[in-house]
């Protein structure tokens, strides 16, 4: 009698644990903060290199979303790093064909002159220009 009762409890616990696992699995499937019409590919804790006008740029983020062959979206904490600058920001869009990256979130940039903080940026790589938006503070190293 006791054995049957124990077996039922064990079965119940196994089912409960499996149920919990299924719940956790589906609960962790966070939807993207931006929605895109095209089918995308998502990679977490991503880092890679991109060859552009300014040379080799290392990119990385918490989550990389490939929108299409030309566009990627770095979700969460992200960075772009090459021989001229290091850009640390959040939610950065990159157009590989136009060589433009941009973000509307706070950004911190370190280059050979100093450290810059701004509310957002647009990096036009083929033109060698980075436009920083909002209040900008650029502290120059002496």
């Amino acid at each position: 009698m006791i054995n049957i009762f124990n077996t039922k409890i064990i079965y119940f616990l196994i089912i409960l644990i499996l149920g919990l696992q299924i719940f956790i699995y589906f609960y962790n499937q966070n939807s993207l903060t931006k929605s895109f019409s095209q089918k995308n590919i998502t990679v977490e804790n991503f880092s890679s290199v991109v060859l552009s006008n300014s040379g080799i740029t290392k990119i990385g983020s918490e989550k990389l979303n490939k929108i299409d062959d030309n566009k990627i979206y770095l979700e969460g904490e992200s960075y772009l790093e090459n021989k001229e600058y290091k850009i640390y920001g959040n939610n950065i869009s990159i157009n590989l064909i136009d060589e433009i990256s941009s973000s509307e979130d706070s950004v911190k940039v370190i280059n050979s002159m100093g450290t810059l903080k701004a509310k957002g940026f647009k990096n036009i790589d083929y033109d060698g220009k980075i436009i920083f938006f909002g209040e900008v503070e650029f502290v120059i190293d002496n």
């Binding site: 810059l116 920083f132 209040e135 503070e137």
Partner: protein
């Protein structure tokens, strides 16, 4: 004896606190005074191909020599070894430059690092604690501590004695 020791310890503690305070005070102010920066209210464009920075909207620029304010700024730089150094700084509209106890005002200013000269044009004024001079062009030679104020004609060169010097 105990009282004497107590006061001696208190004195030592007080001295240590004052020394530490002085130490941190010197470090803090030596850092804040030597800090160079560019602040912009609207945007800043870094053009690495033309080696320039363009700042827009309530611009504030500070270097070792002066603090400048303007609506817009274009600063050109050169690369020396691994560092970038500003060589020419241009300021546009509502230009105010604070240099020690002097204030220069104008519509346009250009600072060249090589000769350490600031040149201002358009409704220029130079204000010191004792006087206010107005003209069309001001050349401030920082290294030689020389100021040249030019005007289109003699009438447009105005000298105003400020209140705190009027009694002398």
């Amino acid at each position: 004896m105990m009282v004497k020791l107590f006061f001696l310890e208190k004195l030592n503690l007080s001295l240590i606190i004052k020394t530490l305070y002085l130490f941190f005070f010197v470090i803090f102010f030596s850092n804040t005074n030597s800090e160079s920066y560019v602040k912009a209210g609207e945007s800043l464009i870094w053009d690495s191909e033309n080696q320039s920075y363009t700042a827009n909207g309530s611009v504030e620029f500070k270097n070792d020599e002066f603090v400048a304010f303007a609506d817009r700024m274009i600063a050109n730089y050169i690369k020396q070894d691994k560092d970038e150094i500003f060589t020419i700084v241009e300021l546009f509209e509502n230009v105010v430059i604070e240099f020690k106890d002097e204030i220069f005002r104008g519509n346009y200013a250009i600072y060249t690092r090589d000769d350490n000269i600031i040149k201002l044009t358009g409704n220029v004024s130079i204000e010191s604690p004792t006087r206010l001079l107005k003209g069309n062009e001001l050349i401030a030679d920082i290294d030689n501590n020389k100021r040249i104020l030019n005007s289109a004609n003699n009438e447009s060169l105005v000298e105003v004695l400020l209140e705190n010097n009027a009694d002398n």
